[in-house]
Symmetry: D2
Subunit: 346 residues, 4 copies
C-alpha cells in the first residue's frame, strides 16, 4: 500500500519510523565481528542497562516482535495442562492469531472487566472456581496484564498490586504485556520498578518498537530458574535473531537517557490535545478518558465519511474509531483532522 507524504496516519504508533539516536546506535554497532545469537557485548550492555533502570537483577532477552516476546514470556511460565487468565480484550486473546496458545499449549481464560481492565475481586472469584487440583480442569499458571490496555486505559499501581496478590495467592505468576511500556510509565509518572516487580509482576514483555525502535523488544525475567529455560524456548520458537547486537544496541541506547520518556510523554500529550479539541466539537463523543496516546470516538457517519475522503489513516472498530498519536505526529495532520470533522458536522 503506497503511503504518500501527504497522508496523516493515526492507525497505530508502529507506523512510525526509528528515532535518530537508535539509528545511530545501530550504525555504531556495525563495526567488526560480534558473536551471534545474543552472546555479544551489546547484549551484555543492554542487560546491564535494564538492571540499572529496573533497579534489580534480571535477565533480558532481545526479540524482534511483540507477539514473540509475549509468547516466550508465557511459555517460560507454562505447565503442559495450564490456563492463562487475561482480559477478554487482551492483545494475546484477540490479536495474535492463537500464538500464545501455540507457544504455551495453554488455554486462555478470558474475563470481562470494566475499563478493559481485570479487577482483583473478579479475578479472585474466577480463580476460586477454576478447579485447582481437579484433573478435568486446566490448571491456571499465569495472569496476563496488558499495561496500558489495547484500549488505552491504565492500571494504577495499586490495581496492579492487587491483581498480583490475587494471582500469587492462587499460584499464578504475573506477566505484564508492555507493548506500550513507555506510555504507561510516562502517564503514571512512576518508575519501571514500581510498575513491574515492586507491584508483583514476574515477567515482562518490554516493547520499544511502538516508541521509536526498529523491531526491538525484550523479555525481562526476574527469576533465574525461569530465565534458564528461555534460551531454549526462544530457539525453538524461532525467536533468536542471528545478529542480535542490532536489537540489543538499540535497547541499550533507548534506556541510556530520558529520550524514550520524552517521546512517550509527547505522544501522550498529542493524544490529550487532540482529545481536548475534539471534545469541543459539537456531536463528537469520545469514549472514555484519554490516558495514553490513543483515543476512541464514535463520530457521526457524516464525519466518518469526510475523514474517509481525506488524507487520513485510522482504524475502525465497528461503529467506533481509533486514533493513535506518535510523538512525531504531524501538527498539520492533527489540525486537519479536527477541521475536517468540524466542517463535516457544521
Amino acid at each position: 500500500m503506497l503511503m504518500s507524504a501527504e497522508v496523516y496516519d493515526f492507525r497505530s504508533d508502529n507506523v512510525g519510523g526509528v528515532a535518530p539516536e537508535l539509528l545511530e546506535a545501530i550504525v555504531a554497532a556495525n563495526h567488526g565481528a560480534a558473536a551471534p545469537y545474543g552472546d555479544d557485548e551489546f547484549t551484555g550492555a543492554m542487560t546491564a542497562r535494564f538492571r540499572e533502570v529496573f533497579e534489580r537483577d534480571l535477565v533480558a532477552f532481545p526479540v524482534s516482535t511483540g507477539t514473540g516476546a509475549n509468547c516466550i514470556a508465557l511459555a517460560g511460565l507454562a505447565n503442559p495442562y495450564g490456563a492463562i487468565y487475561c482480559h477478554e480484550t487482551a492483545h494475546i486473546n484477540v490479536y495474535e492469531c492463537g500464538a500464545p496458545e501455540f507457544f504455551t499449549g495453554a488455554k486462555l481464560v478470558a474475563l470481562g472487566g470494566a475499563g478493559y481492565k481485570l479487577h482483583a475481586a473478579e479475578l479472585d472469584a474466577a480463580l476460586a472456581l477454576a478447579g485447582r487440583g481437579n484433573p478435568t480442569r486446566v490448571q491456571p499458571f499465569a495472569l496476563n496484564v496488558t499495561q496500558p490496555t489495547d484500549f488505552g486505559t491504565l492500571y494504577t499501581l495499586d490495581e496492579l498490586e492487587a491483581l498480583s496478590d490475587v494471582a500469587h495467592r492462587h499460584g499464578l505468576l504475573v506477566h505484564l504485556d508492555g507493548a506500550r511500556f513507555a506510555n504507561a510509565i510516562a502517564a503514571l509518572g512512576c518508575t519501571p520498578a514500581e510498575m513491574t516487580w515492586r507491584a508483583g509482576v514476574d515477567i515482562v514483555s518490554f516493547g520499544a518498537t511502538k516508541n521509536g525502535a526498529m523491531n526491538a523488544e525484550a523479555v525481562l525475567v526476574f527469576d533465574p530458574t525461569i530465565a534458564a529455560k528461555l534460551p531454549f524456548l526462544l530457539k525453538r520458537g524461532g525467536q533468536v535473531v542471528s545478529k542480535a547486537r542490532f536489537i540489543s544496541a538499540q535497547l541499550e541506547r533507548y534506556l541510556a537517557d530520558d529520550r524514550w520518556l520524552v517521546r512517550a510523554r509527547q505522544a501522550n500529550a498529542n493524544a490529550a490535545r487532540l482529545a481536548q479539541r475534539l471534545r469541543a466539537v459539537r456531536d463528537v463523543d469520545l469514549i472514555g478518558a484519554v490516558q495514553i496516546n490513543m483515543l476512541f470516538a464514535r463520530l457521526p457517519e457524516v464525519a466518518v465519511a469526510a475523514l474517509d475522503r481525506g488524507p487520513f489513516r485510522y482504524y475502525k472498530l465497528g461503529r467506533d474509531q481509533r486514533f493513535v498519536c506518535r510523538h512525531d505526529q504531524e501538527p498539520a495532520g492533527m489540525d486537519l483532522l479536527v477541521s475536517t470533522i468540524e466542517e463535516a458536522l457544521a
Copy 2:
C-alpha cells in the same frame, strides 16, 4: 562476550556486520509513516524485486530469523500427521532446538548420505518404505534440502532436480533451506530460478543475514494456495515484525544489483585461498573440498593449542575445526591464522 578489534573471527558469517548499501536502505526507509506488518510499499517493492530476480510470480514474506523462515515454510506444507525428510546433518534436524517439529507438528525423518547430501536413489528407497496410507506411520509431506549444506557442500542442479523428482513422485513438496543462498549461487554460477523452481523446489528460505543483511530473511512461495496460509502461520508463529519495512527495504536493495553476489564470491574466494594455503602446510588435513566459504580441518593438537592461544575465534566439532570466511575477512587475520599453524607445526 567482549570482542576486541584484534580478534579474528572465523566462527560463522553471521558474526559480520551490515553491508553499507543495506544500511543505507534502512536509513532511506526511515521516512514518514508506513503501514505495519508488511502492508507497506517497501514490502511490495521487495516482492516485485524477488519476482524479477526469480523470473516468475511468487509471494515473498519478510522474517527476521532463519529458523523462523524454515519453520514457516515447512508449516505451510504440513499435514497434521506428517513427516519431513531431511539429511541427518540438516540444520533443521540438529541446530534449531526442535523448532521445525514445534511449528509443523511433524516428525523429521533423517537420512544419511555421503557429502552431507541426500541422494535421490536413497531417498527413493526410504520413501518406498515410508508406509504411505498406513495409519500407524507418519505420512511424508516435505523434503528439506539445505543448499549449501551446513558442511559447505553443494548440490549440483542435476542432483537437486533428481531429488525433487523423487519427492514429487512420492507426494512430497520440496523446501530449500537457503541460509547461504548467495554462496551457492556464486559457487554454481547459476540463476536463482535454476536453483529453485526450475529444479523442482516448491518453497524457499532465502537467507541474506549471513551475506551482509541485518536480520533479514524471506520465505518465498511459488504456489498461491500455500501463500494464502502463510500470513496466519506467520502471525501465530510470532514471526510478523511490526515495522516490516526495515527488513523489506534491505531485501529489495540486496537484490537490486550484483553486490550480493560480489560479496558471496569474495567470501567463497577467501575460503578457497585459505584452504590452498593450509593444504600447503605439512600435517594439515582439510576435510573434503571447499565449495563455498567454509572449510573443515583436522589440525594436529599442537596447532589447535596454538590457535587457542592466539586472537582467533572458530568452532570445534569434536576433533575437527571449522573456519568460515566472510567477504570482509581480514587478510591479516587469514595470514596470522596460517602462520600460527605453520609455526606450531614447524
Copy 3:
C-alpha cells in the same frame, strides 16, 4: 473410593454398569482371532448398523472415551490457526482439561446463551466480528453443539438447524457432542438422522457409555474426505484400541434393537418423576425444566447437610446440586432421597 451396596449414586450416568445385552455381545465377540485396530468383521458390522440407523452413508470409528471422540472429531475439521465456537458451559470448554485445544491446536471461543444453549442470532453476530481473513485473528472452522447440554437442556431440531445454517454460512462445520445422544433422541422423539445430518450436523461424537455401554463411543463422519484423515488422527492421538472388536460389537448390538432407547427413556422418566416429587416439597427449588435424565436444585443448607449424612452421592456446583438418574436408578434410593430432604425441611 469404596462403594458399598447401600450407597445411592446420583453423580452421573457413567457410574452405572453395562447392559446385559452389551455384555453378551462382548462375550459373543470373544471367539477366534480378529484383525486388530478396527480392521475386523465386528467393526464392519457396526458401521453397517450405524448406516442403517442414521439412514445414510457414513464412516464410524470406535473409541473408548468421550473426550477422545470429541477431540478426534474436531481435529478432523481443524486448520492450523483455527477457532472452535462453543457455549461457555460446553463440556469441551470446561471439563476436558484442554484436550480439544491440544488435539486441534485451535482456540475455543466461548459464547454465552440462555438455557446453556447457543442461539443462532448471537452466533451470527459473533462470527460477523470474528475477522475472517484477518491474519491477526484465529479463523473459525467448527461449531460445537452439545446435545443435550451438560446442564440437561435440549436444542430443538429447529434450533439445531438454525445454528447449522449460521455456521455453514460463515464457513464452519458443525460438530455434535452426543455424550448423551440416546437421552436426547428419547426426549425429542426424533430420529438420529433428524438430529444430525438432516439438521446440518457434519460430524458426531456418539456416546453409548453413559447409557449402558462399557467404554464404547464412536466418531461418525458423513464426509469421506474428512473420514480419510481420521485413521491417522486416531493413531496419533493414542485412540486406536488394539482389540477394537470389543467396542464395535457393543455398538453394533446397542443399535440392533430399541433397548438403547428404552433405557434412555427410563432414565429420563426417572429424573422427571424425581423432579415431580421434589417440586412438591416446600422450600425445594429446581433449576430449569427437566428435559433429560438430570436435574439441578438449590436445596436449603439443612437439606444438603442431611443428604451428606445419608448414603447418597451427587455433585455440588457452587450452591447448587446435580442429580443424574440412570435407567436402573434404584427406586429405594429415589424414595430415600426425597424423604431425607422432606424430613430435613420438615
Copy 4:
C-alpha cells in the same frame, strides 16, 4: 475384513481374544455403581496388586491403548524442548504415527544397535554429543527401551541396568515400553521388580492386551512427583476412560495369580517349537534367535506364495515374514503352516 474360523492367524498376539478369568473379572465388576474416571474401588485394588507384584510403592493408571500408555508415560517426563532417545526400530519411533512427538512435544532421536537393541556404550557416545546446555540443541530427557523389542529380542537385566546407568548419568529418565511385558518376564525368568525399577527403570508401560486382556494397559509410575502430573496429562490426552473399573478389574485379576505368566510361557513355547520345526526344513532361514513369541523368516518365494494361497495370516516386512504365536495358537494351524512350507519347497 471377515475372519472365518478356518483362518490361522500369526499376525500378532493382539488378534487373540480375552482370557476366561479376565472376562469373569469384567462380569464380576459389573455390579452396582462405581465412581467414574478411576476413582473406584477396582482401581484401588489394581494399584494395590501392582504394588505387591512390583514389590514397592507406585501409582498405576489404567488406559485402553498401548500408544496411550507410552505417550502419557513419556509426557510425564517431558520438558518443552526435549529429546527422547530410542532405538531406530522402537515402536514409538515407527508405528505410532507420531503420537509420542504429539503428546510430548519432543524430538525422537533414534539410534542404531545390533539385535534391534540399544547398547550402553553407543548411547553414552551419542549423549556425549547431544549438546547438553546448548540452546540450539534439543535437550534429552528420556530413554525409551522396548522390552521385548518389536523384533522379539530381549535385553538382559545387565544390559537394562547398563542403559539406565548411562541414561541417569546424562540426566535422562528411563521409560520401559512393556507391550509384551509378560513375554519378557517369562523368557528371562526374573521378577517384575528386577526388570524395572531394580534395573533403573523410572516409568513403565505395562501391557496386558497382547497377553489376554481386553484393551487393558497401565502406566506405572514410581516417582510421586511425576505421578501427580499424570491425571492431568491423561485427561488432556483423552486417555481417561469413564468406566475405568472394567480395565482395572482386569488388571487386578491378571496379576492375582500366575496365569498371566503361564499364558506368556505357552506363547513363547509355541514360537520356539514352531521355530524348531521350521529350522528343520531345508531352505528355510530364520532370522535371529527366537526369544519370545515371535519369529522372523526369509522364506523362498515359492513358500511365500504357498502360504498366501492357504488359510494363513502373517505380516510381511519387505522380503521377510513375521509369525507371532499366541498362548492359544491352534496346533493344527502350526502344523499346517509347517507342512505347507515343506510341501512348497519339496
